[in-house]
Symmetry: C2
Subunit: 440 residues, 2 copies
């Protein structure tokens, strides 16, 4: 399944090491500066996109590359750095590619509609003008693409010349129109590797008794990451026994029946559930245990406790040992298990956004197009951000089996290329080293 | 601090690649066979000890190397394999060293006292005689060393000639008389690396608001692993802000006061707590949330929910965002982040046990002695198992700061050498490959 045909490919090679840089012969006296920000939840590779922006901006002759500290929210407080004071060498760029979580700091900040608060837009553009910004690059998810849309709309409305480009980022893989999102492959790889380890752990301890392990995976509405646990099914591992995605209504009676059937055949059962699975009446499963109270700035309920609830439910119903395991924030920050394909693509889309802005595009998001699945080849494309913002891409129903308890081979074929390869972490004194910002 | 002077060093080089093998010139007509089992909770490197046993046994001329399936419990059901049907090459040995969780399967089985049930001892020795077993090697923790003690006592009582040797294994590092236990260094490394990643994750999201992350670390009575979170304090990471070990009585009022003080100075607070922290009245903190109900075969309460309880407590008291993170079973099975020192030492003690048994020792456990800290040099020694079994080694009070909220530099100096170096996982199709048993 191809998600879309991109409007235009951006000719940037994967890995970004030989980006076709063209320094523009500009006769303008004004400095050509660029600013980049990061927004929303972290990923393992969000900084690889930042590295791609920085390297490509320097190669294409931008004068100063600014970084917003904590996205648009920090920019409004005039908090930014000149990235040349932070990134001193190619070695730093490599380290940045291996550093999880937003190097510049992130925010969860939603711009008001233009008519609601034009003053805030004026403030942003005043800052951009003051810094001689020609291009504004924002690395983020759905909410961040909404920011790109509003700022580019405002610029056109008011005749500002800055270009606004979005770089996709989310472990959830729920952005429309891109084949997949940077950050997803690495989260999938960490989840799959950890699932294999949890399955082995549970198996080793099972003799003449039953045990059930329930893994809780991130993904509020989209089951992409929960489905990735199926990658643990390899020649030497059975993989999880049941997989429940948030796209499918969760039926707790059917669930219990399924588990009881499985227990007749094997002693150690491993079940992967999305944090966002819901009952037919619309309640989240985690709400049954009293979770789901906290609501974030975008009105999203914080979901935690789905696996814990189901483990205690099964423990009480069946009477065997159960255990719940949440992979928690490590899903989005375990860069020590990042995918090389993902790091390379994140770098590529960062560079492609700079190229597009430099060539006059605005109000667009860079997307990844899957040119070929086997051998896996991807390319950066570009799409109108108005067609992207605020649409969630869910797992298609036909990629889940009939009774909603596992994923299909098509799903596996889609994910598998995205977890391939590694960048060895740079180990210092036994631990992965990261690049951190110096705000002095 | 040196834990002990070992009784005798066993001359086996670290890494085991040039174990000084001497095939005994035996004139006995009886086959010289050996059997090995694994018991108790898994570690990332318990199979490296198995690899050390297997390789050394072959090198020293043992005929068949049997593996008990699921330890003594499986042996009583006559469940075992000839390991030459499982390990076919040096490549398999390397893969085994990188495979977490007991390859042979584990058990949690406690032998009765000899006078309570002599028949069970008769059954075990009948099986050993039938298999022409000369040496019995058991890889495990405190409970497993109790098995070695009882079986070797019984053999001496009844005039059986088999030798019984213990190989230490536990992520908890709570075995007495050995400088540290195989499995601890890799768990410490995984915990420290994950703590760094969690700290970065939380930092990136903090702007003009406070957040608190609470990490729950394994360790019922001993705080070795919880203390290992301090390794995350490096040149580019602050490390956790507070560390609470189970050795120190937990005072929830003092805790709240400490957190409030910290929040005046910084926005993102990360706190590491042991799952086993207890109040002055003896209750586990996790019991406050209704956890701690399940009791295992050794009478140990299952502890889960300490961090979740404290996160909701702080959330209610302070009103900021809190998050709890349990590293769960990945602490003991994330072999993709194992320490090279640990894998090598686990191999070494496995080999040393075979050598000791072959040279006539029985009722002993192999220990690791720290010959030098800088440069780090360790050697295998041997100790009477009667002096080891059922004593828990706790973190010394002087290795925790005065108010019980952090560890000292001596603790760090002790741990740091144990997390050094890596064995690259063997990656197949993007995921770490494991060796699994073929029971057919």
């Amino acid at each position: 399944m191809r998600w879309q045909q991109v409007e235009n490919y951006i000719k940037i090679s994967l890995g970004g090491n030989n980006i076709m840089a063209k320094k523009r012969n500009t006769t303008k006296s004004k400095k050509r500066n660029i600013i980049v920000g990061q927004s929303g939840g972290p990923t393992s590779v969000i900084n690889s996109s930042l590295a791609g922006v920085y390297k490509t901006a320097r190669e294409r002759g931008f004068h100063t590359v600014y970084g917003m500290l904590h996205g648009v929210q920090g920019l409004l407080d005039e908090r930014y750095v000149d990235l040349s004071t932070q990134i001193h060498s190619d070695m730093d760029i490599e380290l940045l590619k291996r550093t999880p979580s937003a190097f510049l700091g992130s925010c969860r900040y939603k711009l008001p509609e233009i008519h609601e608060d034009p003053e805030i837009y004026e403030r942003i553009f005043n800052i951009l003008d003051k810094l001689d910004i020609e291009a504004f690059i924002y690395i983020g998810g759905n909410d961040s693409m909404d920011t790109i849309k509003k700022l580019s709309d405002y610029a056109i409305l008011k005749g500002h010349t800055q270009k606004f480009l979005g770089v996709p980022k989310t472990i959830d893989n729920d952005l429309a129109l891109t084949d997949h999102t940077p950050g997803f492959g690495s989260a999938a790889k960490y989840i799959a590797a950890s699932t294999k380890e949890v399955i082995r752990d549970a198996l080793g301890l099972t003799y003449n008794k039953k045990n059930i392990s329930i893994l809780e995976i991130m993904g509020r509405n989209a089951g992409w990451l929960t489905g990735a646990t199926a990658l643990a099914k390899t020649e030497e591992c059975d993989g999880p026994d049941l997989i429940y995605l948030p796209e499918i209504t969760f039926d707790i009676d059917q669930f219990l029946k399924k588990v009881n059937e499985l227990l007749k055949k094997k002693d150690s059962i491993v079940i992967a559930v999305s944090e966002g699975i819901k009952l037919a009446d619309g309640r989240y499963v985690c709400e049954l245990s009293g979770g789901g109270d906290y609501v974030d700035a975008f009105g999203h309920k914080q979901l935690q406790g789905t696996a814990a609830y189901l483990a205690s439910f099964l423990g009480a119903e069946i009477g065997c040992k159960t255990r719940s395991i949440e992979f928690s924030t490590l899903q989005r920050s375990a860069s020590h298990m990042a995918s090389r394909v993902d790091i390379d693509e994140a770098f590529m889309v960062g560079g492609a956004a700079v190229k597009a802005a430099d060539e006059g595009d605005t109000g667009k998001m860079v997307v990844i197009d899957r040119v070929s699945n086997d051998p896996y080849i991807s390319a950066a494309g570009i799409y109108d951000v108005h067609r992207i913002a605020n649409n969630e891409k869910l797992v298609p129903r036909e990629w889940v089996n009939k009774d909603g308890t596992y994923i299909t081979d098509e799903f596996i074929n889609y994910i598998e290329p995205l977890i391939q390869g590694d960048y060895q972490p740079f180990m210092v004194n036994g631990l992965p080293q990261h690049l951190v910002i110096n705000k002095k």
